[in-house]
């Protein structure tokens, strides 16, 4: 049985302090009575109340959620298809280009993706707004979904599909009744990733948004540029809480699922 050595425990402590202290301080100061963010003026939840009355903020939140939902859903479908192509399609003309186009957006600087998509929408005469932001988000997040799903597909035992075909299922049947349920956790994980990426994106949205489609990160960004404000702290705290909760619940559910599957296999 391994134990923590003194050195390892120290580096983990310092590392996690570095990763979590800023967020923790941000959360603590969201409950600060004082308008001056860095001076403690007593406990208060008034900034949360303030936030709830901020119509513009709420509108932006609503826009962001819709964009995130639609782009994540579209990305989940396209990304899963792309993963299937990468893992299953074998060699075909243009495969290199295809895998290049799937992997490149993962490391592409956001400013370039944002700018290039904007120029595309302009030359297509598409008005900038929710639609263009959704399309833009779908494009880069489908690549993340493809990576997540294909790593699951690689380890997928193809004899399961062959068994389904052997038992009389059509290829499409076999996909929907055997393959998809098995890779479903990866698709869900991909969807979640796409959803948070969209929720999070400032740069690409800034390029591609139009009047009436201001997303939350854009709103936060313009507020932050003016300096620290307790209201933004409160908003950040809510976002962090929601996302953390989602991730923890998803990972626990995944663990339980893996466990019950493991039991069945025994």
């Amino acid at each position: 049985m391994r134990r923590f050595t003194w050195f390892n425990a120290t580096s983990l402590t310092f590392g996690f302090a570095f990763l979590y202290l800023p967020i923790l301080l941000l959360i603590i100061y969201s409950f600060n009575e004082s308008k001056l963010v860095t001076v403690w003026g007593g406990f208060s939840t008034k900034w949360y109340g303030e936030l709830m009355r901020n119509e513009a903020m709420l509108d932006a939140a609503w826009v962001t959620l819709r964009v995130a939902f639609f782009s994540a859903s579209l990305a989940a479908v396209l990304g899963t298809m792309a993963a299937l192509v990468l893992v299953r399609a074998g060699r075909f003309k243009g495969r290199t280009l295809f895998s290049g186009m799937v992997y490149a957006p993962l490391v592409m600087p956001e400013v370039i993706t944002g700018l290039s998509l904007l120029l595309l929408f302009i030359s297509l005469n598409l008005d900038r707004g929710m639609l263009t932001v959704t399309l833009a988000h779908t494009t880069f997040s489908m690549c993340y979904v493809a990576v997540v799903v294909s790593s699951r597909l690689v380890t997928f035992d193809r004899s399961l599909e062959e068994a389904a075909l052997d038992l009389g299922a059509s290829p499409l049947d076999a996909f929907f009744s055997v393959t998809l349920p098995i890779i479903a956790p990866a698709v869900v994980a991909g969807w979640l990733l796409a959803f948070t990426l969209s929720l999070d994106d400032l740069v690409i949205a800034s390029f591609n948004t139009g009047p009436g489609a201001t997303t939350l990160p854009i709103k936060i960004y313009s507020a932050v540029r003016l300096g620290v404000s307790p209201e933004i702290n409160a908003l950040s705290t809510i976002l962090i809480a929601v996302v953390s909760l989602g991730v923890i619940v998803a990972s626990l559910a995944d663990k339980r699922l893996a466990k019950s599957r493991g039991n069945q296999a025994q």
Binding site: G15, F16, V107
Partner: protein
């Protein structure tokens, strides 16, 4: 639906999507980079117009030139931005490695039942908003911020440190934001490492330190390289961190491009900046992709 058609649909849908929304935009960026700025909507000329027939098309091509690229060379702002971006990205990557390696090492050597929790704690910040995480440092680093308050209360300094709006703040921001990208690949190579290799090295006469340099580090090298690329590539084109934490003297190409586009509304120059940035990154991106492929091949064996 026959097998062939099914395959065609499967390949076709994501393929067309990426061609339209990923590849085509680059062609347009390239075209606009070769155009001239104009006071119009959209603010550049010439505009591509098929209705004019062949003469219009050839006229369109003859109006494209490399003037914007020449402009990039002439104005030191751009060159300096590129150089400064690469320098900042390079040193942040080095810093992230120095912080990330011991951390990943400690995670991989942690008791088995602790590791899933530690892994989740490293991944969790990645899910929370990037913008918020960068923002959280403003309250800490600014002149009347929490760090200065703490240091002055401890009596370590009596004048507040100026960190906010300097390159130091940018380094801190980049290391902080991209640390998980450094930790995770290193962790995964270290975690896979067979511990009997270290025992074998010690059995053959190594002490702990030489075993670390002769066995652990060479075996973690693929993870180290992957981690460095994962930090370096996005750091070069970073916009949010230099904009929020850096000062006016902080030059980074992502920020320059943003300014050129939103403040100066000079789309052709912004496009030219993007093209050069892309060219700068194409080599590291390709190397990175090759490494990934090689690693996957090695794993498949």
């Amino acid at each position: 639906m026959s097998g062939k058609w099914r395959m065609l649909t499967l390949i076709g849908a994501p393929y067309l999507w990426l061609l339209l929304f990923f590849l085509a935009p680059f062609v347009i960026v390239l075209k606009i980079a070769l155009s001239d700025t104009a006071i119009s909507i959209p603010p550049y000329t010439p505009q591509f117009d098929l209705s004019g027939g062949w003469p219009a098309i050839s006229d369109f091509f003859s109006n494209l030139d490399f003037e914007n690229f020449k402009w990039l060379i002439d104005d030191s702002l751009y060159i300096n931005s590129y150089i400064s971006s690469l320098t900042i990205a390079f040193f942040s990557t080095l810093l992230a490695l120095l912080v990330g390696f011991p951390f990943a090492y400690a995670m991989a050597r942690a008791p088995d039942n602790w590791r899933p929790l530690l892994l989740m704690l490293v991944i969790l910040p990645f899910w929370t908003s990037f913008l918020i995480r960068v923002y959280s440092w403003i309250g800490i680093l600014k002149t009347e911020g929490l760090l200065n308050q703490l240091l002055m209360w401890l009596g370590i300094i009596d004048q507040p440190l100026i960190i906010m709006n300097t390159n130091t703040a940018v380094y801190i921001g980049i290391v902080y934001s991209y640390l998980p990208f450094m930790i995770l690949p290193i962790y995964s190579t270290l975690e896979k490492m067979d511990e009997s290799l270290l025992e074998a090295a010690i059995d053959l006469g190594c002490n702990r330190i030489s075993a670390f340099w002769l066995v652990t580090v060479p075996l973690a090298l693929p993870g180290i390289i992957a981690g460095c690329f994962l930090v370096f590539i996005p750091a070069v084109g970073e916009f949010v961190i230099p904009d929020l934490l850096g000062g006016t003297q902080t030059l980074m190409i992502g920020k320059t491009l943003w300014k050129e586009f939103f403040s100066n509304r000079d789309w052709p120059v912004a496009s030219a900046v993007a093209i050069v940035l892309l060219l700068l990154l194409v080599v590291p991106i390709l190397i990175f992709q090759r490494l990934l492929e090689r690693q996957q091949e090695a794993e498949a064996r």
